[in-house]
């Protein structure tokens, strides 16, 4: 009956603060901190599924640029910008923690305690960096260069994971979840970063539409939509299966989730191809 070994004083400080949180402290004591982190992973995942649906619906108004610009006016408000920045917290946590799980499950990384430290350290660094970029505004970068680099950095680990697990006896659906996860781990934080390099990049319809004329950008966006919706759909399904006893109910909900993802996928793909 031991608590996680923590040596550094600032970690002890953080841990004692965390141990005063009522629910988290109870589960940390009875199931361990990785269990609590698994729950945070789950909750941030559910939050992001809802956000992605909302995001795709918002973007769908790009078909009528004036409607899109009217919506984007709200994003000029400081409070909304603050919420946009806050959105990076669940995103980066889910991404990095997913990376940690992949290292644990597929690359036999068993020094999980130090991996958890890395997850939190890198997440804080990323969120601060993003905040700084948002405050600075007006950064410029070539979209093609940015996305080409991001794509290379996302596809390479995706390929590595695929080559490690492709010949195992696990189901194809499970393998695709891991592969899409590691692909998104880089490309989603990159997407968030890109969108905040300068306000116009994501907020002005003419800038967005011009960028999306490029076939390469269309390709990146399509890949993103498909990978995100697949990953989200599988994640939701796997949570539901933990609580549904009957196979029939499980299958029914699986079909429902698949249909919902297909509808949003259709909206996203149609938008990307028609702009």
């Amino acid at each position: 009956m031991t608590s996680p070994v923590v040596k550094r004083p600032f970690e002890r400080l953080i841990l004692s603060a965390l141990e005063s949180l009522p629910v988290a402290a109870f589960y940390a004591k009875t199931r361990g901190w990785p269990f609590v982190i698994a729950w945070i992973h789950r909750l941030t995942g559910i939050f992001m599924v809802v956000y992605i649906w909302f995001h795709i619906l918002t973007l769908s108004s790009l078909a009528i640029p004036s409607e899109y610009d009217a919506k984007m006016k709200y994003f000029g408000f400081v409070f909304i910008s603050f919420l946009e920045w806050l959105l990076a917290v669940p995103v980066i946590f889910h991404a990095l923690n997913g990376g940690r799980l992949i290292l644990y499950e597929i690359f036999a990384t068993r020094n999980d305690e130090s991996m958890i430290r890395w997850v939190f350290g890198l997440a804080v660094t990323y969120v601060l960096l993003l905040g700084l970029l948002m405050i600075m505004g007006n950064q410029s970068v070539s979209p093609i260069f940015f996305w080409l680099t991001s794509l290379i950095f996302s596809v390479s680990p995706g390929y590595l994971v695929a080559s490690k697990i492709w010949n195992t006896a696990s189901s194809l659906a499970w393998k695709l979840q891991r592969i899409s996860g590691v692909f998104l781990l880089i490309i989603i934080p990159a997407h968030l970063l890109f969108m905040h390099l300068q306000p116009a990049i994501g907020h002005e319809s003419n800038v967005v539409i011009t960028r999306m004329q490029s076939k390469f950008i269309k390709f990146v966006d399509l890949t993103l939509v498909i990978a995100v919706l697949y990953h989200a759909g599988y994640g939701l399904m796997s949570i539901l299966k933990d609580y549904l006893k009957f196979r029939l109910l499980q299958n029914g909900l699986t079909i429902l989730i698949f249909l919902m993802m297909a509808v949003f996928g259709w909206i996203g793909i149609r938008l990307t191809l028609t702009l």
């Binding site: 361990g32 992973h41 789950r42 499950e105 796997s238």
Partner: protein, 247 residues
């Protein structure tokens, strides 16, 4: 809370026990207060209640040496073996002298702290935790030699006593997942060189109730009274490393 010399120290302990009467289908919490010395185990406390306060309190134990897994229960939410938990350790760990004791939520409760282990075992039975098709013994002698390197890979997993603490702690073993201990039992036999039948096993292990249902939350490893790193073995299966000696 305590008196005098640490060697003879006596604690006043409050146990809040979840009880269940199957005849009336009634569940309630009953509080017992008792004196306990520091090295008494939780099974001793339960026995003391039976002897001095309430003979109707039902619980179960067998070896009382952490080898049979019968006295598993939740103490302040943590699944553990009551025969291994000393009063002084419990007070230190949970920082309280009040303990809420309940049965493991891995099968229906028969009475008070006793769960229907045959139902819990149904999940383990599904993975066939025995050698289905033994490799034929060598022509000379009956023994089947296993190299230390081979044994080293899975010997820890063989120490599982099926106490179901891990299943009770698992984030996903409520409905469809067969559970960490069932997975472990299956993995042991896949890694066991004496077993020929691997295909049947892999089908179950990687089936829809198998390792794909595990979210690597590592609660199983955290609570395991035999200190088996259950999550490590499940991760080995996910990585596809259990069927061969080297990756």
């Amino acid at each position: 809370m305590s008196r005098e010399n640490p060697q003879t120290q006596v604690f006043m302990i409050n146990l809040k026990i979840r009880r269940f009467d199957p005849d009336e289908n009634r569940s309630w919490i009953q509080k017992y207060t008792l004196e306990a010395s520091r090295i008494m185990r939780f099974v001793d406390l339960l026995r003391k209640i039976n002897d001095e306060q309430d003979p109707t309190l039902a619980w179960v134990s067998s070896c009382e040496h952490g080898q049979c897994g019968t006295c598993s229960m939740k103490v302040n939410g943590k699944p553990l073996l009551a025969c291994e938990l000393l009063v002084e350790n419990a007070i230190y760990y949970f920082r309280t002298d009040t303990f809420y004791i309940e049965p493991l939520n891995v099968a229906p409760v028969i009475r008070d702290l006793i769960v229907d282990f045959t139902k819990a075992y149904d999940r383990v039975d599904q993975v066939k935790p025995y050698i289905i098709k033994p490799v034929l013994p060598r022509s000379e002698g009956d023994e089947f030699p296993i190299t230390p390197q081979e044994l080293e890979r899975y010997v820890n997993a063989t120490r599982c006593i099926n106490c179901f603490c891990c299943a009770a702690a698992c984030i996903s073993s409520h409905e469809t997942f067969l559970g960490p201990n069932a997975m472990l039992n299956s993995i042991v036999r896949v890694m066991d060189p004496r077993e020929q039948e691997k295909e049947q096993r892999l089908k179950i292990l990687y089936g829809y109730q198998g390792v794909c249902r595990c979210h690597s939350s590592r609660a199983c490893s955290f609570v395991c009274p035999k200190e088996i790193d259950v999550a490590h073995f499940i991760a080995l299966a996910k990585e596809g490393r259990i069927t061969k000696l080297k990756s």
